[in-house]
Amino acid sequence: MGSLPSHHPSVTTTPKTNSPRLTEHVLLGLGGDPAFIVDLLGDLSEEYTYRSTHDGVYAARLWYGREVVRSTPHVVWNAIRHGTPEARGRLAASILAVAVTFSVLTVAWLTRNGPPASLLVDGGIESDGIIVNNLGPVQISMRVLDAAGHRLERTDVRYQRVSGEPIPVSTRGVTTCTRRGDAIVRASLARLHRDFVIHCEPVQKIRDAGWGNFVVGDPASIFTVDAIGLDGQQVTQIAARLRVEDSTIATLDSSGRLRPLRSGETWIDVEIGDRRAGAFVAVYEPVSTFEGLRPDQRLVVAPIRLARGASIRWPLPTGVFFLTFSADSSEVPPARGFVGMGSSSSPTVQSPVNMTVAGPIMCTRMDESQPGALGAHCLARAPGATLILTYSGSGGPNEIVGSLALERQDQH
């Protein structure tokens, strides 16, 4: 097989610039094999000259750059193989410097800020505006973004009320809601404009946020609060800040749904406008009976199902605790009449559901917190205390379904 004809058997090998000499010096300093470096740079220079003559300087430069990039790993490997320890150190330092420079430039490029491109309402829970529940002055703020979505720190946004309720809005964006209503406000920055709605819903007070009993494993449920406006009516649009004191017991998601996680008690701070309130949350551990409760089981609840005329007898733990029976059905008449003193007990009033205790235990009936509920505060001094729950009424359904909760008060 004969040899292929050469493109330019007697090519003129004029160096591109003086840079090959410098490049050669640098590469030799980094430990490259002299023959390898000289041949490689020589070929690059020769081909560059040929290509710049035939294809033009631009195409030749493009080829040269591409070839340098493609050959770099081989040059590095050659320098690693042939270099002295000192040269390898210089090579490592050079690679590190190049890598760091490249990383810094890349990060700087990606995070560079451009001119303002859009204005967004900051802190609004709606896309078209914000809800103001404060009675006092509130600073409106806008997010200024560039085209890449980077947030820009700009304080020169100007505001002006356009229409709607005549609420005062300063050019700096301070507004005071003295009445219920909506106003459209325009934010401006240079040539950028953004119209948005201020929903004025000043809250005068937060009605008792109440409390809630939950059971571990229950699905998440909406946490509700009642906020009252200046006109005495309920406020329908609320921008509330909720914070759970112990988020290992329960959590609140962004849509205000509370999810019980483990048994225990915690507190929820509620902040609406410039008003604050709190809510108590108890999460109970589900059990089938109160028998054999461990000392660390402080909040437990058991399901109750009683046919007419039936009763259950459960042993109770020692110590101080609350007992609460709650019927699930509204058809069940309120459970009334409970007392248990000393070693004997008896219902005080005829009721379809009777809760009594026996043994070394003393209980005091608590006020009903809700219809169909029956509560007692008990002290069991020694083991042997028993709870007796009886459904003996003649009216109502044939069976009652409910739950019995036990909440320990003493420290274990």
Binding site: M1, G2, S3, L4, S6, H7, P9, S10, T12, T13, T14, P15, D33, A35, F36, D39, L40, G42, D43, L44, S45, E46, E47, E67, R70, S71, T72, P73, H74, V75, W77, N78
Partner: protein
């Protein structure tokens, strides 16, 4: 069929093996004879295999073949032009020639018994 598609791992010497690029480079040197210098070999490989190997990859391979004793090289006189440089010309050694013959035999042996329909057309 492209030569680079073949993967030869022949044990030529106790410490040397021959890869696909090494084999095609050896063949190019054998073909180019007195004109076997870097750029000429690069063009020959591109023309015959369709692959444009970088200058760095080519010289790494040439250096490896020289280390294995399959090639030897000599420097030419500087070219008679302004700034002319000397080229390094490569020549097949006896071991290199034996390696090529061995590769050919090996190729023939591994294709032996394969019917014509399955056998690719060699260029």
């Amino acid at each position: 069929m492209r030569c680079s598609d073949l993967s030869y791992n022949l044990r030529l010497m106790p410490t040397a093996t021959l890869g696909a690029l090494e084999l095609t480079t050896l063949l190019a040197v054998a073909r180019l004879k007195d004109e076997a210098y870097g750029l000429a070999i690069k063009r020959d490989l591109a023309a015959r295999t369709g692959r444009d190997y970088s200058v760095g990859a080519l010289y790494t391979t040439l250096q490896r073949l020289e280390d294995k004793g399959l090639l030897t090289s000599r420097r030419s006189e500087p070219l008679p032009v302004r700034g002319g440089r000397s080229r390094r010309h490569f020549t097949l050694t006896g071991a290199g020639s034996r390696a090529l013959r061995e590769a050919e035999r090996h190729s023939a042996s591994i294709w032996a018994g394969i019917g014509k329909p399955l056998r690719p057309r060699l260029p």
